[in-house]
Symmetry: C2
Subunit: 245 residues, 2 copies
């Protein structure tokens, strides 16, 4: 059993929030994965419009998915942290509808589409767990959409960072009050639909209000309670609260 299914493996941790994988499920999960590949920051892993695209599992590091508009603007759709899949939802499409790029140096494994398909036929428990993970990622995007459409800059930023914190904690990469976050303000702004300049002002505002600090690649919550109140943060949509069914 290699790291991908060891107790500290982020994917295993994440899936455990949904169901408990049996040894045979975990074994098949192993078989889906190709060898580990290292990419350095900036590497485009999947690009929009790519045919014969694969899905990947992110073992280590951060990536983001994004779309570029015809005027050159970029909108980041979601960021991925260890234990997340890249491009799983787009697999049935003829071409990927979004791009994925490494934000830090990363370690990934390609997922065999053929064996994945086999899992759907012969490994229903595992298949359901994978569908769950993909459905949860969809729920993240939906929440993100609601935030960009209807929340002001401060609330939106706070909510996004709270959500990331919850995700990091789930895969064992952060505490309740703090986590390390390698996103630059430029990147964060592209995710939030803001300009980097305005995001900077918002971050200062939150710092001065003793709500949260994002400095030197670390997010620290100073007043989680107030933050949760103003953002209406409720992680129900992360679907990780209830016990396994």
């Amino acid at each position: 059993m290699n790291q991908a299914t060891s107790p500290t493996d982020p994917l295993t941790r994440k899936l455990s929030a949904f169901t408990s994988l049996r040894p045979e499920d975990a074994a098949f999960l192993e078989k889906l994965l190709g060898p580990r590949i290292c990419c350095s920051a900036g590497k485009e892993i999947i690009y929009e419009g790519q045919h014969r695209h694969s899905a990947y599992l992110l073992h280590e590091g951060w990536t983001c998915s994004y779309k570029r508009l015809h005027d050159g603007a970029r909108q980041i759709i979601d960021v991925q942290i260890p234990g997340d899949f890249l491009g799983a939802r787009s697999l049935p499409l003829r071409a990927s509808d979004q791009s994925f790029v490494a934000l830090t140096d990363v370690e990934i494994s390609r997922i065999s589409t053929e064996k994945l398909w086999e899992a759907f036929r012969n490994e229903p428990r595992l298949a359901l767990a994978l569908l769950w993970a993909t459905a949860r990622d969809g729920a993240l995007v939906v929440e993100h959409l609601a935030g960009i459409g209807r929340r002001d800059a401060l609330t939106r930023t706070a909510h996004f960072l709270l959500e990331l914190g919850a995700r990091m904690k789930l895969v064992g990469r952060g505490t309740a009050d703090s986590y390390s976050c390698p996103l630059s303000q430029n990147i964060l702004a592209d995710a939030l639909g803001l300009t980097a300049i305005h995001l900077n002002r918002v971050l200062r505002q939150m710092r001065e209000a003793n709500l949260l600090v994002f400095r030197d690649g670390v997010v620290t919550f100073l007043d989680r309670e107030t933050l949760a109140e103003i953002t209406g943060f409720d992680l129900a949509y992360l679907d990780q609260s209830a016990p396994a069914r």
Copy 2:
């Protein structure tokens, strides 16, 4: 063979853009569906947080999926037209992450989750087609997110209406230049992340520029070329251009 698989059936038309269903696939598709249910406009079909939620197929009428934020604001995530599924992506989640409401009187069928699961094991062609439809809906949401994050009000509105037109045409409910659209300005504004007042101004602007008219429940494109140019409209993400693989 009832209407759900007849040549003019919107779902069949939509899936045909992806693959050609064999008779046995179509037959199994029939078996997934419960009896037709009629709901009148305003009826909540699935609500956010609902447990034991089902998915549905929309035969007739329009619905939308939305989230409500804690301050009462509403963000519409997507609208559904005949041939679209309601709540398919959320099926593996413990609770639905969004609500679905009928915008007009609608006809829907419940999809049997058990038989759907059986299709994944025994009807790989059909299962892939259903996964494709769900993946495409995800791509719509992603595009919508990019639009709200990075397009200005006019571009965003024009793009949304162009996209809807392409979807309507695919299921045989509109021509290249016009389609009937029962969305009120209030609803459209909630979808676009605008206020109804500003949307009204935008619609007037487009009318006066002879770009498009949205009046009396009908969208008419006056200058499709210019519209496509300013929005950068490219329906590749709808994944309906290429021939079946």
